[in-house]
């Protein structure tokens, strides 16, 4: 029971701007790929994935965490037959996604980043036709459509054309559609982007509930709290590479000290950095930019006094302090030197 996923050394190089630009990094209205100007010197090349490998165990909620344009959606695109890898393999259950597409498609449900609903149909028809594509009998698809419309609070809008729906309603309908054929693996690409807090909690409950049925869930997010609250295991991805992998607890344990104090001075000197390193509980001190210092330590608030003292002793002024408790955000910062929101 349950379906696992394995990806081996995936690499994806886009030679034309991807439709929806990597499905994440803003989109362009460039009308069509011409394919004629291959000889032009300004050939487009975008390395979206650069040798990504990881394994997702059967029945777990797995999160891909990273900033916009990191390669999350491209990874999901490859696993869901929508993006062809340049090299490497993606395997769902026993099927190589790009060798046995149809069999792989039967196993998966997909909630895309942007609703790709069939705008020529009503909400209910979207579900019933989806059931029909997956070979469900008339009675079965009618029953399931009713259940899912009820579950996602869309019953009173069931006969309306979806182009009149709000963003949140489209998102709920996308999830209902993905669950319509009861797939073993569900992919959700940034499912909570643009949702209000209430709908977000409903989404989390739905995901957990579906997971309890033994289904594997793969989601991408750039919200740390979401990854932390929902995922059994995580991979952090940046610039098309996996930079860390493990359970949220394991990952947080790898941050030196746990707490991160981001300090800003009027100026800094090597002597000051050395003084900071000598403070009790400090595990690492880094200065990425002029005047800014990142201090990793076992505690947060209690260090402020000694830091101020050190600054005064060195004749410098402390201008700003920001304390971050142990979190995936700190982890991301530690590995990439940038905040997720940069």
């Amino acid at each position: 029971m349950g379906i696992g996923i394995r990806i081996e050394n995936l690499r994806k190089v886009f030679d034309t701007p991807p439709p929806m630009a990597g499905r994440g990094a803003g989109f362009s209205f460039t009308p069509a790929r011409s394919g004629r100007k291959d000889t032009s010197p300004k050939k487009f090349e975008l390395v979206a994935l650069d040798g990504v490998s990881f394994e997702i165990r059967a029945g777990e909620i797995f999160g891909l965490l990273g900033p916009n344009g990191a390669g999350k959606s491209t990874t999901i695109g490859i696993l869901t037959t929508r993006t062809q890898p340049t090299s490497g393999r993606a395997i769902i259950g026993e099927y190589d996604v790009w060798q046995e597409q149809v069999k792989a498609k039967r196993l998966i449900g997909v909630v895309p980043q942007r609703p790709n609903l069939d705008f020529s149909l009503t909400a209910r028809e979207i579900l019933t036709f989806h059931g029909a594509y997956f070979g469900q009998s008339f009675r079965e698809r009618e029953r399931r459509a009713d259940e899912l419309l009820e579950k996602f609070k869309l019953t009173d809008r069931a006969t309306h054309m979806v182009r009149t729906f709000s963003g949140g309603m489209m998102q709920r309908l996308s999830i209902a559609r993905a669950m319509m054929h009861d797939p073993e693996v569900m992919f959700l690409d940034e499912p909570s982007a643009g949702l209000d807090p209430q709908t977000r909690l409903l989404l989390w409950d739905t995901i957990r509930e579906y997971n309890r049925l033994g289904k594997t869930i793969v989601l991408t997010t750039h919200y740390m709290d979401e990854a932390d609250a929902l995922c059994h295991r995580l991979a952090i991805i940046d610039h098309g590479k996996i930079i860390a992998e493990g359970t949220p607890t394991e990952l947080k344990a790898t941050i030196p000290g746990g707490y991160l104090l981001r300090l800003r001075f009027d100026r800094i000197s090597e002597a000051l950095l050395n003084d900071l390193r000598a403070l009790p509980g400090v595990t690492e001190v880094r200065s990425a930019e002029a005047c800014s210092v990142d201090v990793y330590a076992g505690s947060g608030g209690p260090l402020i006094g000694p830091i101020v003292n050190a600054a005064v002793a060195a004749g410098m002024e402390l201008r700003d302090v920001h304390i971050q408790e142990p979190s995936l955000e700190t982890l991301f910062l530690h590995h990439t030197g940038r905040s997720l929101r940069d």
């Binding site: 886009f14 991807p18 439709p19 929806m20 989109f27 209205f29 009308p31 069509a32 790929r33 695109g77 869901t80 037959t81 929508r82 993006t83 062809q84 597409q101 149809v102 069999k103 498609k105 039967r106 998966i108 997909v110 895309p112 942007r114 609703p115 790709n116 609903l117 069939d118 705008f119 020529s120 149909l121 028809e125 979207i126 036709f129 989806h130 029909a132 594509y133 997956f134 070979g135 559609r177």
Partner: protein, 256 residues
Amino acid sequence: MNWKTFYALLARDAHVARRNLGPTLLQNLLQPLLFTFVFGKVMTGSGMMPASYKNMLLPGVMAISMVMAGVQAVAMPLITEFQFTREIEDRLLAPIEVGWLAVAKIVTGMIQAMAAGLVVIPAAWLIMGSGVTLDFTHPVEFLLVALLVAGFSSTGGLALGCSVGQTQIGLMFSLVLAPMMMFGCAYYPWSALESFPLLHIAVLVNPLVYASEGLRGALVPQVPHMNTLVVIGALTAIDLCLLFLGLKKFRQKAVS
């Protein structure tokens, strides 16, 4: 091949086509029928054109209607579905090889083209009044030519729909469809171009020429028309080329 899924894809297209029946009919038939009225009724009734022109015109109008119906039935939804909302993915994720989705679109387009063609015959007959003499003694030839015309219109729609962006729809009409209609021998027989030797040869790249001439040969064999075997051969070749090209472009666009 997964027939259940294929049938469901067709059922979905049929459902959407039924919902848009009125606007679709207007869009495909109004223009050719207005043309029929002006050329087949006003011009012939006023004596500016001979009455025999009606026989010449009807198969041409039928060809244009079929081509417009088929091209638009396939190309327009595809252009919309491939834009940045990627609506097409709703069906690309169905458990069937993606090429079959394009085939389902072609079948839908062919059915709509056949329907448009069959509606034109009685409608044009009614508009033009007496003087139209259609010959239905070669039903197999007529059906074969009509099917090949429907096939060319919907495979052409597939190729166009996968090549044209949303912002270029206007260009598609003025650069592709309008010249095709004007130089498609729909309003005059191919033999009328003999006095323009260059044009006489050049229009042979236009599939509509074979459509108009083929329907002429099947419905009004008394007027000059191209040899039916040539028409069938040319249309078959065009259908196969467009099918190949359309499927290739569809696959390219379906997967990034």
